[in-house]
């Protein structure tokens, strides 16, 4: 907004001069003092060096034309410098509106310390990171145990978890994710078959494409790809939902009522994933093998029955048990870790985004790390 006395005149450069009349300083102000013109002058820090303390600066505003907040910014800087030099300012000659605004401003700008840059202490930071990680791991495991206890309470009919919440989470984690699970696993099976066909054809081992697709899909890809998709889709959503509840003080409200957060929030999330992911794993196996079958039919001219015979000959039933077991572990991990990240998030909108990102990253990295553990275990027990 412009406080405009002479709007029709062309804009004049804002200028000031400090004059002395009988040792009395007078600041004469000329022109248009508009912030939008980007030409508000800066005051030199030593403007009052020739003035003795305890005198008063007066103003001459006869030549002052239009002004806005840029003028007030200038006057505030003047007020600050005057205060520092123990000089008072006589506001009588200033426009009345400017006097009122100036009265709202402190005599001296408060010292604002710049945002602190944390010192570079690599050992300290590494130690902190390790302690935080171990702490997070411990708390996540504790939450897992609480959730497990909640399962038993649920089975005994004494849980705070509502069945409607569980069914809602099952729907969100399962049926709603089918399309993306279908696309990802179908394409993974197709790509595997395509790459396998190109390589195995060189050794006249085309028939083994079915073995490759079957074993890779059932043992590894279906479980891992499904878990990664669920981690990105559902884990991120859980973390964001709980972080938003944190920001709205909904978690505090649960605590005040004495409703255990683990049972009310984490249990339905973990159970829904644990129930739906093994089913989705089987569905993912089907889609992956279907993708491999279609590519094999198109590239290798194999028959459907021939491909399936070869596949099920190569993939014994215990591979499905192994893949399914992995999926259950992945589901529990994603459910608990994403809820933990949501609960530990801050309370702002930005923290919701951070929580969702963290949950997805932790989910993907955790799933792959768990898969490595399973690979070693499988080697030990000879699956």
């Amino acid at each position: 907004m412009t406080i405009n006395n002479n709007a029709s005149l062309p804009s004049l450069q804002p200028e000031w001069t400090l004059k002395f009349e009988n040792q009395q300083p007078k600041l004469c102000l000329y022109g248009d003092w508009l912030a939008k013109n980007n030409n508000i002058p800066q005051l030199p820090r030593n403007i009052f060096q020739n003035c003795s303390a305890d005198i008063s600066v007066q103003f001459d505003t006869d030549q002052l034309r239009t002004w806005d907040s840029g003028f007030i910014a200038f006057l505030w800087e003047l007020k600050n410098l005057a205060t520092i030099n123990h000089i008072s300012i006589d506001k009588q000659q200033l426009p009345e509106a400017a006097q009122q605004l100036l009265a709202l401003l402190d005599d001296k700008k408060p010292e604002v310390s710049p945002p602190a840059n944390p010192p570079f202490r690599p050992l300290y930071n590494l130690g902190g990171w390790v302690i935080d990680s171990l702490n997070s791991l411990g708390v996540t495991f504790q939450l897992f145990l609480f959730a497990l206890k909640g399962v038993f309470k649920f089975l005994a009919g004494r849980s705070y978890m509502r069945l409607t919440d569980l069914l809602r989470d099952i729907k969100a984690a399962g049926p709603s994710a089918l399309i993306i699970i279908s696309i990802v696993n179908f394409l993974m099976g197709s790509i595997l078959a395509f790459v396998g066909a190109v390589q195995l054809r060189k050794f006249s081992a085309d028939a083994y494409v079915a073995n490759l697709v079957g074993i890779a899909t059932v043992r590894e890809l279906a479980a891992v790809m499904t878990a990664i998709v669920i981690s990105g889709r559902t884990g991120g959503a859980y973390a964001a939902r709980i972080a938003t509840m944190q920001g709205n003080e909904e978690i505090d409200a649960l605590k005040v009522f004495g409703i255990p957060v683990t049972e009310y929030l984490i249990l339905p999330s973990m159970l829904s994933l644990t129930i739906t992911m093994p089913i989705m794993y089987l569905y993912a196996c089907f889609m992956g093998i279907l993708g491999g079958l279609i590519v094999s039919i198109l590239m290798l001219r194999v028959t459907v029955l021939g491909f399936l015979y070869q596949t099920f000959g190569a993939v014994p039933f215990n591979q499905f048990i192994f893949g399914g077991s992995k999926t259950i572990a992945f589901a529990m991990f994603i459910g608990v870790s994403s809820c933990y990240i949501g609960i530990k998030s801050g309370r702002s909108a930005a923290d919701v985004g951070v929580a969702a990102t963290k949950a997805v990253v932790a989910g993907i990295v955790g799933v792959i790390a768990l898969d490595a553990v399973f690979a070693v275990l499988a080697d030990i027990i000879g699956i």
Binding site: I3, L101, L104
Partner: protein
């Protein structure tokens, strides 16, 4: 100063109907807001004050009627023109709505960076000034999550002032504040109006605030879904046109006649 200039209608609401979907919240709203005045949208909870405000700040198209800003029909203008008109608006939301990923200083600087050609040093000076005006200079490098409710409100006001708007809209500025902070905010609003000549539209049902600052207003009724009284809160308190307004202004319980 604007206060001493002849009264001029800056905003006009003509036969406005507001609502969500098929649901009508208020209809047949008519009033004008004089330049440099503080205009209150009054009424009980759920009567549609904030809904009407949303229509006035461009967030909710009205179901019918017109909203004129300096004679220009806001909702019948092109989208770009509405944006241009909206640059003259500053809005203080009920929750302050500061962007949580930015510091308070960055919150105020952003509109200046996006919509002006000012140098970074001038922007910095203006950011400091706006924060100084609301007494929050010390918070320039703090994040909204580090502020109390009252501090957020004041910083939200500083952001609303960033582009020196001609019209300020306040949604429940005193809600959730203690009486002292609330009084300070009221004084600040009046000082800003007097100092900058800003026209202010304020949604509130905080009676002490309304009596202290508002020059004019409209009283909305949730039952009839229409305005039932016009005038300053003091006038409505001293000369209530109906029992509902009288009871509201004197904090008595009113029951609509069956």
């Amino acid at each position: 100063m604007t206060n001493t200039q002849p009264a001029e209608h800056l905003l006009s609401v003509e036969n406005l109907t507001v609502g969500y979907g098929e649901r009508i919240i208020q209809h047949n709203i008519n009033f004008t807001v004089k330049k440099g005045s503080i205009f209150a949208l009054m009424g009980g909870s759920g009567c549609g004050k904030s809904t009407l405000l949303k229509s006035m700040i461009g967030l909710l198209p009205p179901k019918a009627g017109d909203f004129l800003v300096k004679g220009e029909n806001y909702w019948k203008s092109s989208k770009q023109h509405r944006i241009d008109i909206g640059r003259n608006f500053g809005v203080l939301f009920q929750s302050a709505a500061l962007w949580s990923s930015m510091t308070v200083g960055e919150n105020i600087a952003l509109p200046l960076q996006l919509f002006t050609d000012l140098s970074s040093s001038m922007i910095q000076r203006l950011v400091e000034l706006k924060l100084g005006l609301v007494g929050m200079s010390h918070a320039i490098n703090l994040y909204p999550s580090e502020l109390s409710g009252g501090m957020k409100k004041r910083c939200g006001l500083a952001r609303a002032l960033a582009l020196d708007p001609e019209i300020l809209f306040f949604d429940e500025p005193s809600a959730g504040l203690d009486p002292i902070t609330s009084k300070r905010l009221d004084d600040l609003i009046v000082n800003l109006r007097d100092g900058l000549g800003t026209t202010i539209v304020i949604v509130s049902h905080e009676l002490p605030s309304l009596f202290a600052i508002a020059d004019d207003g409209v009283f909305l009724d949730a039952e009839t879904k229409t305005p039932i009284a016009y005038g300053s809160p003091k006038e409505l308190r001293d000369h209530p046109p109906c029992e509902l307004v009288n009871d509201f202004m004197h904090r008595q319980i009113f029951e609509h006649p069956k």
